[in-house]
């Protein structure tokens, strides 16, 4: 039944042609799918991953159209009359200590926070992946050099790093995110390197080397897909942490400035009122939880999709 040979050349007789039940389309369809597309297919068959993707898309969409939902005035105008109102029909998320509508602020806040979060994670993940791969794969003095730099970087507190980046490049949100991303690199580097040290001992790495693959290829094509799973998970969790860290830097005056809302900053402010107005911390917190959750569902889906052995 070698349907992949359209002419059924070798064993096939005229009779065999006659009883081919279905056209050979099935196999050729399979053959036309690239690994990436197969991974994508697996991803989109995973209901949780798709849910995550939809939620994230929705969040991004809402933040994009935020100005149509709430004007900037509504976001910044204070009023004693509406101060600290619990959630109600008029204010589904309640109002904050200055009487501003929290729903509007949460929606606007996503713009800054998500951008910051993603950028920070991407820098950390990108930089850390490359350094970690090189470090773990090359070993020897290269490893030692990179790792000792990582030790140095790890020891420098993020705030200080952010301050100096701002000092060097001038103030601005992007600089701050750059700094926080930079501060994240060592974590990813160590995580990737650890796994690479293990993965590079696999026989298939040897096989790749023997067939003439260069180091770059071995690192990115052979080792990376086999170590990326846990790191992906780490990165997706890092989103929430990145949002909080950038908020902390805004507080120092390095990031977004009031009254511009930011989830992390709102959450920080909410702390003073947590015993008096639960809705102040809860809603921005929930926003972060949902963002992290959805990105994690996506991350999990990706991990499964690139791991052909794992099937649901």
């Amino acid at each position: 039944m070698s349907r992949t040979k359209p002419q059924a050349a070798r064993g096939g007789t005229a009779a065999s042609e006659g009883i081919e039940i279905a056209p050979a389309a099935g196999d050729w369809l399979v053959a036309s799918r690239s690994p990436v597309r197969r991974a994508a297919l697996r991803f989109f068959r995973d209901p949780l991953a798709v849910t995550g993707l939809l939620i994230m898309a929705l969040i991004i969409l809402i933040t994009l159209i935020a100005p149509r939902l709430f004007s900037w005035e509504e976001i910044i105008n204070v009023s004693n009359a509406t101060k600290l109102q619990p959630p109600s029909a008029a204010y589904p998320f309640g109002t904050d200590n200055l009487g501003r509508d929290q729903l509007g602020r949460v929606i606007w806040g996503g713009r800054e926070s998500l951008r910051a979060g993603y950028l920070v994670v991407l820098i950390g993940l990108g930089g850390g992946t490359i350094l970690g791969l090189i470090s773990g794969f090359a070993g020897g003095w290269v490893d030692n050099l990179i790792q000792r730099c990582v030790d140095v970087l790890l020891a420098i507190p993020g705030i200080l790093l952010a301050l100096s980046v701002v000092g060097a490049l001038g103030p601005g949100l992007v600089q701050v995110m750059l700094a926080v991303g930079l501060a994240n690199i060592p974590d990813y580097t160590r995580l990737i390197r650890g796994s690479v040290l293990e993965a590079k001992e696999n026989e298939y790495v040897r096989a790749a080397r023997v067939l003439g693959a260069g180091n770059g290829r071995i690192m990115f094509r052979h080792i990376l897909p086999n170590v990326i799973g846990p790191i992906l998970v780490y990165a997706t969790l890092g989103l929430g942490i990145a949002i909080m860290i950038t908020a902390g830097l805004s507080y120092l005056g390095l990031g977004a400035q009031p009254p511009s809302p930011e989830w992390g900053a709102m959450l920080n402010l909410g702390r003073e009122f947590m015993r008096h107005a639960w809705w102040m911390p809860v809603f921005p917190g929930l926003a972060i939880v949902i963002a992290v959750l959805s990105i994690n569902l996506i991350g999990d889906g990706l991990q499964d999709a690139i791991n052909p052995k794992l099937r649901k």
Binding site: D143, N144, Q147, R148, C149, V150, D151, V152, L154, A155, I156, P157, I159, L160, L161, L163, S164, V165, V166, G167, A168, P186, D187, R190, L191, R193, G194, S195, L197, E198, E201, N226, G229, P230, I231, L232, V233, Y234, L237, G240, I241, M244, L252, G264, L267, N268, R271, M274, R275, P281, G285, V289, V292, L293, N296, Q303, N307, K309, L310, K312
Partner: protein, 308 residues
Amino acid sequence: MLVYTLRRLLLIFPTLLGVSLVIFAILALAPGDPLAAVVSEEYGNTAEDIERIREQLHLNDPLHVQYLNFLWDAMRGDLGTSFRGGSSVLNDILARLPSTIQLAIAGLIATMLLGISAGVLAALYRGGLPDKLTMVFAFVGVSIPSVYAALLLLLIFAVELRWFKVVGDEGLKSLVLPAAAMALIPAGVLARLTRASMLEVMEEDYVRTARAKGIRESLVTFMHIFRNALIPIVTYLGLLAGSLLSGQVFVENVFGRPGLGRFLVDSISARDYPQIRGGILFVAAGYVFVNLIVDLLYGVIDPRITYE
């Protein structure tokens, strides 16, 4: 390996040298003036006053002179004195070290207990209830800033239930709440990491071999799946151990514990250069040490890993 270990231990010195250089570079770049914290706001500072204080704190020396002086002093075990109170930086750090280490160890243990058990359960019951619960726990964990966790724990267990004192020495008991607060975020991360890492090895052939031996499932889980999933876990715990030394300012603040985290953050916001340098050097030494242990552990976890 012994040679490797020794070499790595020796590398502490160049690393610290690197750290000190980087700190100097960073402090030179970082905007902000230490005088803000030294000179208080109220009355009549003259320009001469300010100049005198700057001179006094050696802030006017060229950077390389400051650096060499610092290096020379540091080599003799003198980390200088604080800009603000004039206290010995070394004493300040040593005074905070025991409490910091205590809490770090407690936090590490709490993280491991919580994170690993949750992660293992999640991996074993992938897609099932334990998995979902861990997932929710992890997301809430990483999304709640530790300061909230700390405050909530304090309010519930110390103020409402009175199981603990809000402040006051209760021996090991007073470590429970801070350690729990500290563990919340990392435990969430660790749980997810453990799960992901275990999923990577669960389908390996040797796991099947282990099952075919008829050994208890718990042994299969721990000796064959978990052990082979350890590398990212140990790496993360190493990173965590380092960061617990310096990164726990909120927990330290809420529980009023003298810790290196608060010390560093305070000294950074005051630009108290000697304290910053000293603090970071200690933290760096901590990282170098922890990472060395982690690297050695790699070899124990996976004998194929060697560093030659």
